[in-house]
């Protein structure tokens, strides 16, 4: 039998050794992991303008296509001194609307078109959902979307990151004919092609679909002031 004293010392030594080992591993691998996250973000941004990339060429393609990036606030003023790529939406969403930093990425496509890409982030059914939406130069028509999620139900809510769902947003508009912001709605039972502000919701994924609608509306709304400024 081992004494209590032995058991106590044994556990303390064990825990300290394990803690040191894990710290060393975490510190050594951190730069590599952060790089991977950046590459994933670049890939997601590129998907919203229909550029396919691999983990290897993502950085190169990102530099080629995303020629400009800026940060604005809800009043539509450009804020200097902040790198748009480093703005984390989950932190911004916790701030008050007027304090938020809103990143915009500008993509110059091969056909000479300019696309404005904005990040969106919101709450899904089980966890956060996020994505990127690219707008054509009129800052009204959607050119492409990319959505991601942490833990939506596979086969139902998780369908938001499939091309089938994302491509529905192409050519939808966020402004009505009177120039008012209406965003894009998800419609139960399917939206007709003529509906410029509606996409088909996911069957069985109603809560995720509605959450996505709210996310797109709330996040894009913040940009409307800036958008109307450049439109003029």
């Amino acid at each position: 039998m081992f004494s209590n004293r032995y058991i106590f010392i044994y556990s303390v030594v064990m825990v300290v050794i394990v803690a040191i080992a894990l710290t060393v591993v975490a510190v050594l691998l951190k730069p590599k992991q952060e790089y991977n996250q950046r590459v994933e973000k670049m890939q997601n941004i590129l998907v919203s303008v229909h550029v396919e990339s691999t983990t290897k060429n993502a950085e190169e393609l990102f530099k080629k296509y995303i020629t400009e990036s800026l940060v604005v606030n809800a009043k539509g003023d450009v804020i200097d001194g902040i790198n748009a790529f480093d703005v984390e939406m989950h932190i911004e969403n916790k701030k008050k609307s007027e304090d938020r930093n809103l990143p915009i990425f500008i993509c110059s496509a091969e056909n000479g078109q300019k696309y404005y890409i904005v990040p969106v982030r919101g709450k899904g059914l089980w966890g956060p959902i996020w994505g990127y939406i690219s707008f054509k130069e009129d800052l009204n028509t959607i050119a492409g979307t990319q959505f991601g999620h942490k833990s939506e139900t596979p086969g139902l809510g998780a369908e938001i990151n499939t091309p089938g769902f994302q491509n529905q947003f192409i050519d939808k508009t966020i402004m009505n004919d009177n120039g008012e912001f209406v965003s894009v709605m998800v419609v139960k039972g399917g939206a007709p092609d003529s509906d410029k502000h509606g996409v088909d919701a996911i069957s069985g994924g109603t809560i995720t679909s509605k959450a996505l609608e709210a996310m797109v509306r709330d996040c894009v709304k913040e940009y409307t002031v800036y958008f109307s400024k450049i439109r003029k």
Binding site: F2, Y6, I7, Y10, S11, M14, V15, V18, A21, L22, V25, A26, L29, K32, Q33, N36, Q37, V39, E40, T55, G155
Partner: protein, 204 residues
């Protein structure tokens, strides 16, 4: 028991999934595609091998009153290291495996082998036993994921193998294969085939 016999026993007659029925949960979850299944199999093998080795080396110093805690700490530390390495070197796969790497900690194969084998055996046989059980687990994972990916997505290792001609002729991927129930049925079929070949495994 000699080394080879020790290594090969878990492949068939003492297979952790089909005979010991351990680690079923992750076997159902990560077998949709072959690549994540292979990475999972490799991760589990690394963790079983090293946790067996470490526990076996420490076995005479571990106070029996806290032995489960010691085992868990060793397993947890190894799993976190594996998880960090996956995040750094195969990021896309680690996203797919998501929580299941973390859940290796609760994989019954690990605690089972530590309690049943490593606590009472010398380091070398323990290491071999760990590797054997990891591979035995991995074999089933790869087998199941092969059928699920082939029939569910028409591909192997992400490469399309079913020609477009078949699809044009009206063939469709079976969406049910992608869902967990079919993993259970596939494993059940493997158990059935295995037992009909090895009559010793059939309970009286």
């Amino acid at each position: 028991m000699n080394t080879l016999k020790l290594l090969k026993a878990p492949f068939n007659m003492e297979n952790p999934i089909t005979v010991q029925v351990l680690g079923i949960c992750s076997a159902l979850a990560v077998t949709v595609q072959m690549k994540p299944a292979m990475v999972m199999a490799l991760s589990v093998t690394v963790v079983t091998a090293f946790s067996n080795l470490i526990i076996s080396l420490l076995r005479n110093t571990i106070p029996s009153r806290i032995r489960i805690i010691v085992q868990l700490v060793v397993i947890a530390a190894l799993v976190i290291i594996v998880d960090q390495i996956l995040k750094a070197y195969v990021y896309d796969v680690s996203q797919k495996l998501s929580v299941f790497v973390g859940l290796i900690i609760t994989n019954c194969i690990l605690m089972g082998r530590l309690e049943a084998f490593a606590m009472a055996q010398k380091p070398w046989p323990s290491l071999i036993d760990g590797i054997g059980n990891g591979i035995g687990y991995g074999l089933i994972l790869v087998l199941v994921s092969f059928f699920r990916e082939l029939l569910g997505s028409g591909s192997i290792f992400g490469h399309k193998v079913i020609p477009q001609l078949f699809y044009n002729a009206g063939y469709m991927d079976n969406g049910l294969m992608i869902l967990p129930p079919m993993a259970l049925i596939t494993i059940g079929t493997i158990i059935w085939i295995q037992r009909s070949k090895n009559r010793d495994l059939i309970e009286k």
